[in-house]
Subunit: 325 residues, 2 copies
DNA sequence: TTGTAAGCGTTATCAC
DNA sequence: GTGATAACGCTTACAA
């Protein structure tokens, strides 16, 4: 593999000039063409690790998410990766699998691998492990003043869900969700939902489990029986799409017809892929915008420019087959 | 950020010894502990770019896929990433978005970025661009003798689909699919399907479009009317899950009941995420095994060990709600 | 067993 | 404008 020295030798110029050429400096036309020719014939490609070693900039960032195997995260990763291309920056994918040790390991790996920065979507308390030197942007989760956050307007999303259920004819609503104690997003969705119900005199039930998904799911059938079926709820807002699908399965088992008997709205608005529309009515997070904002924010921090500390993006309602609108 | 020199200085040993320690060499216990302490107090992390520059090994590979935003690819990426962790290797995600120029750009980027190797899932003719120095493993697509390939047993999958449709009571079958001229996988699925139909005296129709997904989809309603509805087909094998979902939507528009009137089997067996089972009956590719084999094969090539040139993995039938079994 | 020093491919400083 | 050259942090002969 040809190096800058080979190019310099062939072009009969110094390595300094070649480097200047590569980095867009001003040179005489004659030298420029000589260099270009040498690069061409040698099929030269700059070794980015040498550059990284020298400049401490590697044009690589790490994306830390629970799992790529999930429609919301994979869409997010898709757009982030696409956006990064505009900045000639590569993406290292880190699935934490909701495992705290994995997260720490990844952050350490990120540091030793000298990525330029981190985009993180995580609910463990990783901020303690993040050195202030490492640029980072958080999606969805608010850590602290120092870490910029991009999030959807969860509160408005909760309100919107309640509003849509009401408009579609439901009059006895329920919220179903779970979340870690650090998870404000979830909580905000619930708060928005409740706020709407109260202002509009709507009766509402609540299933809110503080803890992990898995435990929650075990108790779910009981919860649903007690709080949904026994109380004749006819409109449900579920904290996210994934959970909503499980609720749908549960309702089906109980011979409840959706949307005839009970209407269901999820949150995320994620699709399986680019082409397949989702059957679930949902509050759609603006994933492409989240991705673009996160990348822009991170690049700005890396380049020591101004970056907003908190960005809240609007959600929209996405109609599916689980509501009667 | 502390370097190996700082560690050496603090531990009162030479950089050579520290390096030896880091790479698992034998040292006196006293030096070892001194080094360990120094590393601890300095919070030292090895700079992998310096190592990469020196050793030409970066413990990073690139995964080239059409799009991560797709259940099959995201599950695959999930398992590949997880598997790579066993080899302390990171994953750079490259979505080509089915764009040939993107693929070339990525391969060039991969070379200049000095990844250790490539795992590629692509249907364009990128092999011309791949230098023989760069280790590469192909998934699903067979390029040439030199490039190791991991694939599912597509032929057996086609047979299996026909067999299952027959067992579930269908007696007039059809294949629906499309594929580029380079795509042997698709073709093999069809061949297997046909072979079974012929050996078992089953009538079968074919919709096979040589070309791109998008064009195919435009003509699909017409195809379905002519070849499926007009000819009273009652069992369909669709070349992949994504397409199968579109067929299902089309059938629903035509007021066809699935699986009562027509049964449908897809191919891939992909799920939206870890938790949500798919409603579609499908031939399941062994994604975790594909991932593990691809990684193992690539690592072997990188380390100049023996690696199989062709690995064919068995598929299984995965029952859903679109068949009557 | 440990230390020394050259060199990997760049960039950046400083002469010229 | 251009050319030498030191330096980035590490590995690896080779020397001690």
């Amino acid at each position: 593999m040809a190096s800058i020295k080979d190019v310099a030798k062939l072009a009969k110029v110094s390595v300094g000039s070649v480097s200047k050429y590569l980095n867009g400096g001003k040179l005489k036309e004659k030298t420029t063409t000589a260099i270009e020719q040498a690069i061409e014939t040698l099929n030269y490609e700059k070794n980015i690790y040498a550059t990284g070693l020298r400049t401490n900039r590697t044009h690589t960032i790490a994306l830390i998410i629970p799992t790529i195997w999930h429609p919301f995260f994979s869409e997010l990763a898709f757009y982030i990766e696409a956006e990064l291309r505009n900045y000639q920056t590569k993406l290292i994918l880190c699935n934490t699998q909701n495992n705290y040790e994995n997260e720490i390991a990844y952050i350490s790996m990120a540091r030793q691998n000298k990525v330029d920065g981190l985009i993180a979507l995580t609910y463990s308390n990783v901020d303690e492990y993040i050195s202030s030197e490492l640029p980072i942007v958080s999606i969805d989760r608010y850590f602290s003043e120092e870490i910029p956050t991009i999030m959807s307007d969860n509160f408005a999303g909760g309100e919107l869900a309640a509003e849509k259920l009401k408009q579609a004819g439901a009059n006895k609503l329920a919220f179903i969700g779970y979340g870690s104690i650090y998870d404000n997003s979830t909580r905000d969705r619930y708060r928005g939902f409740q706020a709407y119900c109260q202002t509009h005199g709507l009766e509402s039930e609540t299933i809110y489990y503080e803890g992990h998904h898995r435990e929650f799911n075990e108790k779910l059938p009981e919860f649903v029986q007690e709080t949904i079926l026994n109380k004749a709820v006819n409109g449900i807002f579920v904290v996210n799409d994934e959970q909503a699908f499980e609720i749908l399965a549960l309702l089906q088992e109980n011979n409840v017809r959706v949307p005839e008997d009970i209407q269901v709205i999820g949150f995320d608005g994620s699709q399986q892929s680019n082409n397949i529309p989702s059957a679930l009515s949902s509050i759609r997070q603006p994933i492409p915008t989240i991705a673009a904002e996160a990348v822009r924010c991170l690049i700005n921090i890396i380049e020591k420019k101004e970056a907003p500390l908190k960005t809240v993006l609007p959600v929209v309602y996405q109609s599916g087959q689980t509501t009667r609108d």
